[in-house]
Symmetry: none
Subunit: 423 residues, 2 copies
């Protein structure tokens, strides 16, 4: 089995200032092509530590993916050290990366290039450059000869900036697949929302027990995406693998029905967007406690302007009454966090924005502002459709503000999805 | 200097299912008492991998903190392995942990205890128990004699569940402080916005070169937070350390002036919030291309309802004209992505929401929708103040939608901050 170690370089991670999210993304990608990640290591950016860490990794792994330590400033010495380690004899200029650097910095008005930026296009002559389209530091690939550590190895150096590292992953996978004979593995991720992980595990226990031996199931819970179920099938060819996965997906659907909202990289907002585009309908939002986050989920989707018209963030009650037309009497009598207020917000947003649907949220995100009757984590969600306004209360009983906002917004999206299913 | 390695055990992290947040929290805590974290390692939960990883760590570090691998199920063999490694002769029952286990499981109706749960109170006789108040698995502390690895060492084993691990940290620090004479270290993070990392590096090169040897500088760039500069000072007492850091901060301010917006864990939205609270003033937003994200930055801040009144997300032009009062003629003549439209949006939001300030964004987030004159990554930002409306165009020339949205929103926040500075 082809094994891998992921290394991150830089003091930011070691002193705890930054949480390493790159390793998790890279690991997921490597696993998806059947490469087993055996270790992840973070080390500081001194030459000695980099060499020790990388050599250790190369001794135990066929693939070493390094992130970080490639910025233009002085504390980044990874490139030099990897050159030394791989016996580079000189630095050469990567034309393609220099063009990218020039393009990026021209667009920012930073031309002519500073010596520091120009130097970013220099790479050790022992590497192959994988162009970094989104940043100035080139990604590098080093082929390590078999005799060096007793097995063939590939080493990659990627930038630490998460989206730059992520963008390089497909090329990294391609190269690994070209160099190594990998065991066949196919995945299917089934996206569910609305059933908590432990309840879901009970509901599908028998189905899970009946899975064939070569199919492995993993639960991937996420406050915004719900619980995703990843099925992995080993050792069969693609056609057979995909067919077996589809069959198991179908039998799962019989058990949990419309809790399944999509597959793969689907999200609630993407699925809803597709439904609305298909129907030629539009949606808007009225947000109190979610404060723009619900709208930002919609608009994170490319092309969302086709169906998402806009929203009113009515954080202050004056905006609820003045812009959305919520009756002052309703807020006085029931409070802003109430079924009545949520329903008037949704109806108001639908009217003001001129959309077919509108979602409203009003609740207590916390950490403060809760009461014994309405503790932090309480939200009322309303969905206005062309026919009616429906509403529901969710209680998460938590003072964790950002997690509450995520849960409020994703449950609001799910309520709209279930309504759209019925239309 | 007392050094530490943080180890996480378990396949969830290696296959990318879970992002490791424990290591970052533990590292921050260790650094705060002057323990230098030299490495972080994730390994799988086989006996061989655990022994290799932990022994390697003990060879290079005085302190090893291990998280994970302590659950009741079979695949968690950390406890047994650490006992073996430290020469335990028997398992002993921790009375205090057994009481906690009984209390927790009684509350869940899971009494009498299963043999599996009861066994969680058993620990190797080579350890001291640190009770885990919030979970069933005890935390363990092992003192490793000097002769074993040539230096005194302490090893801790904590649960993988983040809030359980976090709760044990104070006891871990206490024990480290009792065992080792620690070198003093103090940090100061200075938050800047508006100067790209490489330009900043050039501007402050001389200042950086003049830093005393015991002060280390690190650059921490982030699309939303800007470039943060972290200064670390070693080997002096607190009073002197803080004073020296403050002096260097002051000389930095002379060079880059109001690009500095805060320190430590400050963010633009937090700093703006404090300024507005102090002035007793309010703000609202009109968002096109940022689609709610700008508002969500404001409302991610606890207590933001004191100054953030709300926003209009005018994604569709109809919302720009109907709700914000942008003239149809303006959109027709200049386009929605224009100085004129941005300024009318900001003025409209200020009027409709009844706030002292309003920020407006209108641009092309991408990946599609760009033109040669207005490529994806172009945004007009306007800020309406009680006196005037100012506006500025930013061009990032990128088709990365989410990054564009982050940059648009953070630059919009920064424009407001600079205006507030002048008021």
């Amino acid at each position: 089995m082809v094994t891998a170690t992921i290394c991150t370089i830089g003091d930011e991670i070691l002193i705890g200032q930054i949480v390493d999210t790159n390793s998790s993304k890279i690991s997921t990608a490597l696993n998806s092509i059947g490469v087993k990640v055996v270790s992840m290591v973070s080390t500081s950016d001194t030459e000695e530590d980099i060499i020790n860490t990388v050599e250790n990794a190369l001794r135990t792994s066929n693939v070493v993916v390094i992130t970080g330590g490639l910025g233009p400033t002085k504390d980044d010495i990874t490139k030099k050290t990897l050159g030394k380690l791989t016996g580079a004899t000189a630095d050469v200029e990567s034309k393609v990366q220099l063009e990218i650097i020039t393009r990026i910095l021209s667009a920012r008005g930073m031309v002519p290039l500073s010596p520091l930026n120009k130097a970013q296009a220099l790479v050790p002559d022992s590497c192959k450059v994988i162009p970094n389209e989104f940043g100035t530091a080139p990604c590098m690939e080093f082929e390590i000869p078999q005799e060096r550590y007793g097995h063939p190895a590939l080493m990659f150096s990627l930038p630490g900036v998460p989206f730059e590292a992520e963008a390089a992953i497909p090329k990294v996978l391609e190269s690994i697949q070209a160099h190594f004979k990998l065991e066949k593995i196919f995945h299917k991720t089934i996206c569910t929302f609305g059933i908590p992980e432990s309840t879901l595990a009970q509901q599908i226990e028998q189905w899970e027990d009946n899975l064939p031996e070569n199919i492995h199931l993993a639960y991937l819970p996420n406050p915004v995406l719900g619980v995703r179920l990843r099925l992995s099938i080993y050792g069969v060819d693609e056609l057979q693998g995909l067919q077996e996965l589809a069959e198991n997906q179908a039998s799962l659907k019989e058990i949990i029905g419309d809790a399944i909202y999509g597959e793969g990289t689907d999200s609630l907002q993407k699925v809803i967007g597709n439904m609305l585009k298909e129907k030629g309908q539009t949606v808007g939002v009225a947000e109190s406690c979610t404060g723009g986050f619900l709208a930002s989920l919609f608009t994170s989707q490319p092309g969302s302007s086709a169906y998402f018209y806009g929203g009113i963030i009515s954080y202050d009650n004056s905006v609820k009454t003045n812009t959305l037309g919520v009756e002052k009497e309703v807020i006085k009598k029931y409070g802003a966090v109430s079924r009545e207020c949520a329903e008037q917000m949704a109806a108001g947003a639908r009217r003001v924005l001129g959309t077919d649907y509108a979602i409203a949220t009003t609740g207590i995100a916390g950490p403060d502002g809760g009461t014994p009757e309405k503790p932090a984590g309480t939200v009322w969600v309303a969905v206005a459709t062309p026919q009616e306004v429906i509403s529901r209360k969710f209680s998460f009983n938590s003072t964790r503000r950002n997690i509450n906002i995520e849960r409020f917004a994703s449950n609001a999206l799910n309520m709209l999805r279930l309504q759209l299913n019925k239309q």
